[in-house]
């Protein structure tokens, strides 16, 4: 893998940057691999990378129906945090957040990882009670979450001028999660792709899986794509939002629903807000990107949908809630908005698992799964390579649905 550094930049500048190599190859498609990973999103690429790096499995093809990194990883609001509710979740996300911190070095690709803390703006007592419950549980796992006063909250977010004593929902305090970070989502996709490619993984874009193929015994045999049949004894479905449409081609139904979630950005402005702001009672969150845009998200659309349209009323609610707390944003302008579809399990926790189809693995239910990419990729690779779950992900297999032993995280839907 070509080294990226200030020195290599300088060296290349001399020859007008003509000698940079391809970040990843476009190799010819073979008809057989050891492992096929469907979906070149964050989870698919990370799984492929760790398969090669940690477990020496390099006969891996990642097949992507569009362009790599163009699914939800391209649409998400890059909030990386570990303030979850349950014993099963917290250590998993703590690990993932820590892995993200080292990812720039690991992949020799600048992720622009910015550990800028998340501040929750709390406006109701029940929410405060819920967050304090989180705080004490998180403390057990070494994740930081501290309560702060309203005055301290306003000191940290000077642009937060709404929510005063006379407001409809006065601010009653805040919580600070110092581990939280944002980074550059494209860099995560590209960084993993480049590093995986360098270790022999093949990435095939514009290769859509039409169906999974099973052999006479019912075990997985390969996939049918628009470019022909590809065979492998192990297939990983990492297609976030589309999981059920892919697995049902193998007759496998999963406890997932697909929903639409949207986000939007403002015009770029000079640095104004240094932390990730999350307002669970009002129903929105945002952070300012390095380019200066406010990257804003809100509640998901109600109901199931495979469409990515913006629901005007949901969008207006989010904007209105934001202006109630940040009235100076009235003259700030919307620049771009979009949607993505995510699948969600009943308990809002992920599914990383073997399935009833021998050789078929899924990673799904990623409702806020950007933050989980490193740990998700690592632990899924472990499962695929060793056949047994990594301890950090063991609670998240499909087994929990046999007796509906949920890992309830559904209280957490504001900050992705």
């Amino acid at each position: 893998m070509q080294n990226y550094s200030i020195l290599s930049l300088a060296r290349n500048a001399v020859c007008s940057h003509r000698n940079w190599r391809q970040a990843w190859r476009s190799p010819p498609l073979k008809d057989r691999y050891d492992v096929i990973v469907i979906g070149a999103g964050g989870h698919g690429l990370a799984t492929a990378y760790y398969l090669a790096k940690e477990f020496g499995i390099t006969g891996v093809a990642v097949v992507e129906r569009g362009w790599l990194g163009g699914g939800n990883i391209a649409r998400n609001t890059v909030t990386i945090r570990s303030n979850y509710m349950r014993d099963e979740s917290i250590p998993f996300y703590v690990k993932s957040v820590a892995m993200f911190e080292g990812l720039t070095r690991e992949l020799n690709f600048n992720m622009m990882h910015s550990k800028r803390t998340m501040v929750d703006v709390v406006q109701t007592y029940p929410k405060m009670r819920e967050l304090r419950r989180r705080q004490l549980t998180m403390d057990i796992y070494g994740a930081t979450y501290e309560q702060i006063s309203t005055a301290e909250l306003r000191r940290r977010i000077p642009a937060l001028t709404g929510g005063g004593a006379d407001a409809r929902l006065p601010i009653i305090g805040g919580m600070v999660h110092t581990d939280a970070a944002v980074n550059r989502h494209d860099a995560v996709a590209w960084g993993y792709a480049r590093a995986a490619d360098a270790r022999g993984v093949e990435i095939h874009q514009q290769t859509a899986v039409k169906a999974l193929i099973r052999d006479g015994q019912g075990a997985i045999e390969g996939v049918e794509t628009n470019r022909g049949t590809i065979r492998a004894r192990k297939v990983v479905v990492a297609v976030s939002g589309h999981t059920t449409s892919v697995t049902e081609t193998a007759g496998l139904r999963l406890p997932l629903r697909t929903m639409n979630l949207t986000a939007f950005v403002s015009e770029p402005v000079k640095p104004l807000v240094d932390v990730i702001v999350n307002c669970p009672d009002s129903g929105f969150y945002f952070s300012q990107s390095d380019k200066g845009e406010m990257v804003i998200g809100g509640a998901p659309d109600m109901g199931q949908s495979f469409r990515r349209d913006i629901k005007q009323h949901v969008f207006e609610d989010t904007v209105s809630a934001m202006l109630s707390l940040f009235p100076a944003f009235k003259k700030l302008k919307l620049m771009r908005q979009w949607g993505g579809h995510l699948d969600i399990a009943h308990d809002a926790s992920p599914i990383m698992s073997k399935t009833d189809v021998e050789g078929l693995f899924v990673t799904a239910g990623w409702w806020g799964g950007y933050k989980a990419i490193p740990a998700g990729g690592l632990t899924l690779a472990h499962l695929v390579a060793k056949g047994a779950p990594h301890p950090l992900m063991a609670p998240f297999t499909l087994d929990r649905f046999r007796h509906l032993d949920f890992i309830m995280e559904s209280g957490t839907t504001t900050a992705r």
């Binding site: 190599r21 910015s114 989180r134 009235k330």
Partner: protein, 979 residues
């Protein structure tokens, strides 16, 4: 060089109204009707901005929303961050400054970056700034990026609003095709909504010197506008941008300064049967070395400035084109007194009709402009044959370039219509619509006025007739302009270091950047966009994206069709958040829900707050000198020892009517309801389909087919949806009508051992004796002279009468209760005391014990799970879960070893209080007035078998031990509430 930059006559400006404004601190004058851009051009200003990355001097490139180069920040009362200089109308007192430069656009220190330009190609930041950590570099990068500063305050004056409208035909764009469509559909009688972003109607006609029916085209526009104004069925808005096209033909329009008054902006949500996209076309740039220098402008922009604003952007011009549209413009430029040094056309042959228009001007066919020279203003361009050969330098201070036209397919594409690349006109055009959408005129790639008028008329007629209005035959006015032909030229390759050629001027993305991205394997159009940031600016690449696509296609040796476009996203142009929200803020967004006694509560010193479902309720009623705990204790004692009263109105209440209500209730509750006799009620639990508790509540049977069901306050809306969902999807054949009556009945709940005496003192027609009016029944009658329905339920564990009356009687009832209760020392009770009372009694609360993880068995309520019913919602899931081996967390009482130490609500319970995986959680902890100590409730693994053991609540520093008990601390047998 002394020069007059304003034509002596003409232009759509009002020369009688001179306006003084400031730009970058200097005063200038312009006229009413000018944009900031035209006024600055008329003042001879050429450097109006600095570029984002290299801080190169930049001027004005376009004349409308396509402007890529010059962004200004508005100051003072109109403070607003990034505005295209071409879209800001001047007014007196306006203060604007260029973004991105310090200390000034003329002399910008950031220009130092140009020295490092070679070190910072596209995506350089992915390769460096890694050591020691991004945190070292991030603040510098952040400060450098971001363009303008955000306004620090909301607008000092004025407001925003939103309106809804319905239309048969919505037309986006009031150029010739849109006006024509509006006339035809309007005359036919359809409800027409016509919106256009510009200050006045006319679209491209504002900039050109065409004729319609033998008269100046703008005369025709004036007549059309006048005719539309006479039609009641037509709404015509200017200054109104159609910025979003959503599902089901919902179109969102942003109207600016609608009444020149206090209303800043208005957001229209228009639901239309048919939408006509008459959005015109946008001229695209040519790409050659230094194509960003001040003095390099789009042909259409120059034409607009000379015709519409009578402003003269240069003295001596070169025109560079690959298509026919530049010739008429060149003729207009010449007519405005600009001397045209040459027309450089990359095509080998130029039609005679084109040449006719520019007779006397040198036309260099088969030639290209390879570079512009000059820094803060161009002074010459180099021109050579397209196939090479020696370059010739032509002196000029203005280069007008046209790379052809892109139909403005943004709205069409937002609506999910698909696009098709049309090689004959080298652009993407609308293909298959996904909604009832028609596209007309230049928005379809038809570039002549005659086509615009004709397709406009046809679409107007088609849309009207689709809505049931017959337009009859309509005559299309006569016009003539020259057919449009083009030969694509995505970029001019210049050998050697003649300067950067920009594909995206706003984000400083050069041809080299795109080629680098392609070389590195970022080969998809979306990869190129993201890697280089090309097309991601405020202008969203309106003039440049196509050249990026063309460059990619050339690199891969494929057709543009195979490259495709990046996704067009709303908004078409940036829209202020204030306009999007309209008036919806604060209490308009989250309306308060009040009961009729809010005023009484406030007058009596209640501390009020949000208590779920947007209800504003009294938390407690403090008295002089009391601590919070004193107050709560006092209120609790009143209920336990004498009598208290609270306003239970917010409790979710539904009336269910119909033949099948009984079986419906049997289906949604775990226990049997259908065997209740009229007049009686029962407590029950509802499960969700995953077998977890959704809600608890009480169902009362009024008569055979009429029931009243109450739910928890915070969940009322969700339960309503739950019921409706079942009725509409699972059991559509059942006859059950659900009506929310939460606010139709209000109640005062009198509770405590003396409740019956207070009721007697109030005077009631109902026999209160426990035999004839037992617990869990209701009676209709009068109380204190008011018609009332009294229910015997209890949320406190004491004898309780919930006296329900009509809202108009609530205050009267309340006053009478307080009066009748006075001799019993009755006290009003807030939600804090209610919480304590229910914890003492071990009653559940949603959000505490019922936290989305528990089933009835976990809470020790196996009795509520009917053994006789064959099925009910959630039964299978509960059974399935019960077959598993996972240890369940069960409801217990917690008595802290130290009776004076509270456990924080939510504190996890861990084995031995160690820092390890939790085995439970403290769901509530209150000071009990009956136990005179802190008591808690919690969920802990296998809790029911562990009574007497010690549990530990884990805090950050240590743990609180507590004895596990049964979850009841008061009146175990329930004698009091039944009394």
């Amino acid at each position: 060089m002394a020069h007059d930059y304003r034509r002596p006559t003409g232009g759509r400006i009002d020369r009688n109204r001179k306006l003084r404004f400031h730009f970058n601190g200097k005063p200038y004058d312009g006229f009413e009707g000018d944009t900031l851009a035209s006024a600055l051009i008329a003042n001879g200003v050429s450097v109006t901005a600095r570029s984002f990355k290299y801080h190169r001097p930049r001027g004005i490139v376009g004349s409308g929303v396509e402007e890529p180069a010059s962004l200004v920040e508005l100051e003072g009362a109109d403070a607003s961050a990034n505005n295209q200089i071409t879209t800001v109308a001047i007014r007196s007192g306006l203060r604007a400054k260029s973004v991105n430069c310090w200390p000034s656009a003329e002399f910008d220190l950031g220009a130092i970056n140009q020295l490092f330009a070679r070190l910072i190609p596209a995506g350089f930041y992915y390769k460096t700034f890694k050591w020691p950590s991004w945190h070292l570099f991030e603040p510098i990068i952040r400060r450098a990026a971001g363009l303008a500063a955000a306004p620090s305050d909301p607008p000092a004056h004025g407001h925003f609003e939103a309106r809804h409208a319905h239309a048969d035909v919505l037309i986006a764009g009031a150029g010739p095709s849109g006006l024509m469509a509006a006339l035809v559909a309007g005359r036919a009688g359809a409800r027409v909504f016509l919106a256009d972003e510009a200050t006045e109607a006319g679209g491209s006609l504002l900039s050109r010197t065409l004729q319609i029916d033998g008269r100046p085209a703008m005369d025709w526009v004036a007549d059309a506008v006048a005719e539309l104004a006479m039609m009641d069925n037509v709404t015509h808005l200017q200054n109104a941008t159609v910025w979003a096209y959503r599902e089901h033909n919902l179109v969102v329009v942003n109207e600016r300064k609608p009444d020149h008054g206090a209303l800043l902006e208005r957001s229209w949500r228009v639901r239309a049967r048919k939408v006509i996209c008459a959005t015109g076309a946008i001229e695209r740039a040519m790409v050659f070395a230094n194509n960003d220098r001040p003095g390099v402008m789009l042909v259409s922009a120059v034409q607009t400035y000379v015709n519409r604003y009578a402003a003269i952007p240069g003295n001596r011009a070169v025109v560079f084109t690959n298509n026919d549209s530049a010739y008429a413009a060149a003729a207009d430029m010449a007519a405005a007194g600009i001397s045209i040094a040459a027309i450089v056309d990359c095509r080998d042959s130029v039609s005679a009709r084109n040449l006719e228009q520019v007779a006397g001007i040198e036309v260099l066919a088969g030639h290209v402009v390879t570079a512009a020279k000059g820094r803060k203003r161009i002074r010459a361009v180099t021109v050579s044959r397209r196939d090479g050969g020696t370059a010739r330098e032509i002196r000029c201070d203005l280069l007008a370039h046209s790379g052809g036209w892109n139909p403005a397919v943004h709205l069409f594409s937002q609506s999910r219509g698909t696009l098709r690349y049309d090689p004959t006109i080298a652009c993407f055009v609308p293909d298959v619509p996904a909604q009832p959408t028609l596209s007309v005129g230049a928005a379809t790639g038809r570039m002549t006025l005659a086509d615009a008028l004709r397709t406009g008329a046809e679409a107007g007629s088609e849309a009207a007739s689709a809505c049931g209005f017959d337009s009859g035959p309509c005559d299309v006015p006569e016009s003539d302009d020259i057919a449009y032909t083009i030969e694509p030229l995505w970029r001019v390759d210049t050998p050697g270091p003649s300067g950067k050629a920009f594909l995206d001027i706003q984000n400083d993305v050069s041809v080299d950047d795109v080629l680098l991205a392609l070389r590195e394997g970022y080969s998809n159009v979306e990869h190129v966009k993201r890697y280089t940031t090309g097309g991601m600016g405020i202008d969203q690449g309106k003039t440049g994206n196509i050249n990026i696509i063309g460059t990619i296609a050339q690199h891969h040796g494929v057709n543009l069709r195979d490259v495709g476009t990046t996704t067009f996203r709303s908004p078409y142009t940036p829209v202020s958040f204030g306009a999007i929200a309209g008036l919806r803020e604060e209490s308009v967004l989250f309306p308060y829900r009040h009961t009729p006694i809010t005023a009484w509560n406030q007058a009596n010193g209640a501390v009020m707050y949000e208590a779920g479902a947007r209800w504003r309720r009294p938390g407690y009623f403090p008295r002089e000198g009391e601590s919070f705990q004193d107050t709560v204790n006092r209120e609790c004692r009143a209920v336990r020892e004498r009598v208290g009263v609270y306003d239970g109105s917010p409790l979710g209440t539904f009336e269910l009517k119909g033949r099948d209500v009984a079986r419906f209730l049997d289906f949604i509750y775990t226990n049997v309801m259908s065997n209740l006799k009229p007049g009686n009620g029962r407590y029950g639990l509802m499960l969700s389909d995953d077998g977890l508790i959704l809600d608890d509540g009480v169902a009362f049977r009024i008569d055979e087919h009429r029931w009243v069901v109450s739910t928890s306050t915070g969940h009322a809306d969700a339960i309503h949806q739950h019921m409706e969902k079942i009725l509409q999807t699972l059991r559509p054949d059942w006859q059950v009508y659900v009506t929310t009556v939460t606010s139709q009945w209000n109640n005062a709940t009198v509770c405590g051992p003396k409740a019956r005496e207070v009721m007697t003192a109030l005077g009631t027609s109902i026999d209160l004796s426990p035999e004839s009016f037992p617990f869990m029944s209701f009676r209709d009658g009068t109380v204190a002279g008011l018609p009332a329905r009294v229910m015997r339920v209890s949320f406190t564990g004491e004898l309780s009468y919930e006296v329900n009356v009509a809202p108009r009687h609530m205050r009267m009832l309340w006053d009478r209760v307080m009066k009748a209760g006075a001799s019993f020392d009755i006290e009003p009770v807030g939600s804090e005391a209610s919480h304590v009372l229910r914890v003492e009694k071990g009653f559940l609360s949603l959000g505490h014990e019922v936290d989305g993880t528990v089933d009835p068995y976990d809470l020790g309520m196996s009795w509520v799970m009917s053994k006789t019913k064959a099925d009910f919602l959630g039964k299978r899931s509960v059974d399935l879960r019960r077959q598993g081996s996972r240890r369940r967390r069960e409801l217990v009482g917690l008595l802290p070893l130290d009776p004076n130490r509270a456990i924080p609500e939510g504190a996890p319970l861990t084995p031995g209080g160690r820092k390890e995986a939790t085995e439970g959680v403290t769901t509530a902890c209150v000071w009990s007035v009956v136990q005179n100590r802190w008591v808690g409730l919690g969920l802990i693994e296998n809790g029911r078998t562990r009574h007497g053991e010690t549990a530990y609540a884990r805090l950050k520093d240590g743990a609180i031990p507590a004895i596990i008990t049964a979850p009841v601390f008061h009146d175990l047998e329930g004698e009091r509430l039944r009394s």
